[in-house]
């Protein structure tokens, strides 16, 4: 496939791995904060290719995994209301709330539908005026523009609303860096998040925390090049934002997408599953869009922040625990019987480790 195969060339990847080993005079610890990158790293065994020079730890980069139990529970409650069709992305159906998942709500007769895009939910609402269609919108800055554009196109619909749970990556990176004993020395930033926002918003983090940040793409050669760039900075003692993913990312991002987001959303404090409340890390609907807020429309309130019992996802998402070292990994907790969200989504660190079976 064009613009994919070019970056999976084994010789190119081996060339980068060799340069990384040559450049590193000691071991370095980097964190990626993108579920797609985590998936690539596990699938192509990148951790093994650069073992000894660089340890890659998988940060809170899977939006499904960090969606709080309170929002899943609210989705379950809304899905149980007669006449409501609750739409969301496929990965969300199996994420456990405090009393079951959306698949179980469907089994109890709830109208829960998997959609590819929020526009599918808008179309469903337009075709079924007697059904209240709710889009359970999750994801980072990559999916938030789709929700914003869908809402802007649904202004006239009285039977469409959004349960809004979008989150922002930079505040989560700061939360990781602020943790006591944080061992992260550099970051690979998420290429498609930065495609929307640009890389400029990361300059402040690089300065304040003294960490190099390299914006990276999703293919194996992209990730290896970004690791080499980050190691180069660490060896020189510099800490700036560099852009490996130049074919997609510019300094200031996509102004049209950002303008739509700023029309529809405001930032607010948000509970991250496994991490707790992170200031100004969530996107919610702005005041003039509150009539499209499913919580208001159906009189549902969010429960208090909830912490999973027996799941160590918080330590996994912040780099303190590698999934295979969790005592429940692969025994009580598997993709078929997930105790926590990182085992559910294919982008989750635990599911990626389980599927590709390598220990880093």
């Amino acid at each position: 496939m064009r613009f994919v195969d070019e970056y999976r060339d084994p010789e190119l990847c081996a060339g980068y791995a060799g340069e990384i080993h040559r450049a590193a005079t000691r071991g370095w610890t980097l964190m990626e904060v993108c579920g797609g990158q985590t998936h690539t790293i596990m699938r192509y065994g990148i951790g093994e290719m650069i073992a000894g020079a660089v340890e890659l730890i998988h940060g809170p980069g899977c939006p499904v995994c960090v969606t709080p139990v309170s929002h899943i529970d609210a989705a379950l409650e809304i899905a149980s209301i007669p006449g409501v069709a609750l739409c969301t992305f496929g990965d969300m159906l199996r994420v456990p709330g405090s009393r079951g998942d959306l698949n179980s709500a469907r089994a109890r007769g709830g109208d829960v539908r998997m959609v590819y895009s929020p526009f599918d939910a808008v179309e469903l609402a337009a075709k079924n005026p007697d059904t209240q269609v709710v889009m359970f919108a999750v994801g980072f800055e990559t999916t938030a523009p789709a929700t914003a554009a869908a809402l802007l196109s649904a202004r006239e619909l009285r039977n469409f609303s959004v349960l809004c749970c979008h989150v922002l990556v930079p505040p989560a990176m700061e939360a990781v860096l602020s943790m006591e004993g944080c061992g992260v020395q550099g970051f690979l930033a998420a290429g498609h998040v930065c495609t929307v926002t640009g890389w400029k918003p990361y300059s402040g983090i690089a300065d304040r925390y003294g960490v190099p940040i390299v914006v990276a793409g999703f293919e194996p050669a992209d990730i290896l090049q970004a690791v080499l760039m980050c190691v180069g900075q660490l060896e020189k003692g510099t800490h700036r934002v560099e852009n490996q993913y130049t074919r997609s990312v510019s300094p200031h991002g996509n102004p049209a997408a950002l303008a739509m987001m700023s029309r529809v959303f405001v930032t607010e404090d948000r509970d991250w599953r496994g991490m707790g409340v992170i200031p100004r890390s969530g996107l919610n609907l702005a005041m003039e869009w509150k009539t499209f807020d499913a919580l208001e429309r159906f009189g549902v309130s969010l429960s208090e922040p909830f912490h999973d019992k027996g799941c160590l996802a918080g330590r996994v998402l912040t780099g303190g625990l590698s999934p295979p070292d969790c005592p429940r990994f692969g025994s009580e907790c598997t993709p078929d019987t997930p105790l926590g969200a990182p085992m559910v989504s294919s982008e989750g660190a635990c599911a990626a480790h389980y599927r590709y079976g390598r220990k880093q």
Partner: protein, 84 residues
Amino acid sequence: MCLGIPGEVLEVWGDEPLTRRAKVSFGGAVREVCLAGVPDARVGEFVIVHAGFALNRLNQEEAMEVHGYLARIREMGREECGEN
């Protein structure tokens, strides 16, 4: 949800930026995509799409940079070795 691979724009329609749509092929799998974020995207160009929304147009001039960077790093390494 977030495994965004580039897709090729096959067909574009709609006059208003917000309602502009395209048929986009991802290695043969064709999806309808909102072009509100890249209203000037044209047939034959490649776009990155998440949740049915095109986030940008791929910069084809930069597409081979991942090869060029390694070549330059190796060249620098050779020069350093030569000097030593």
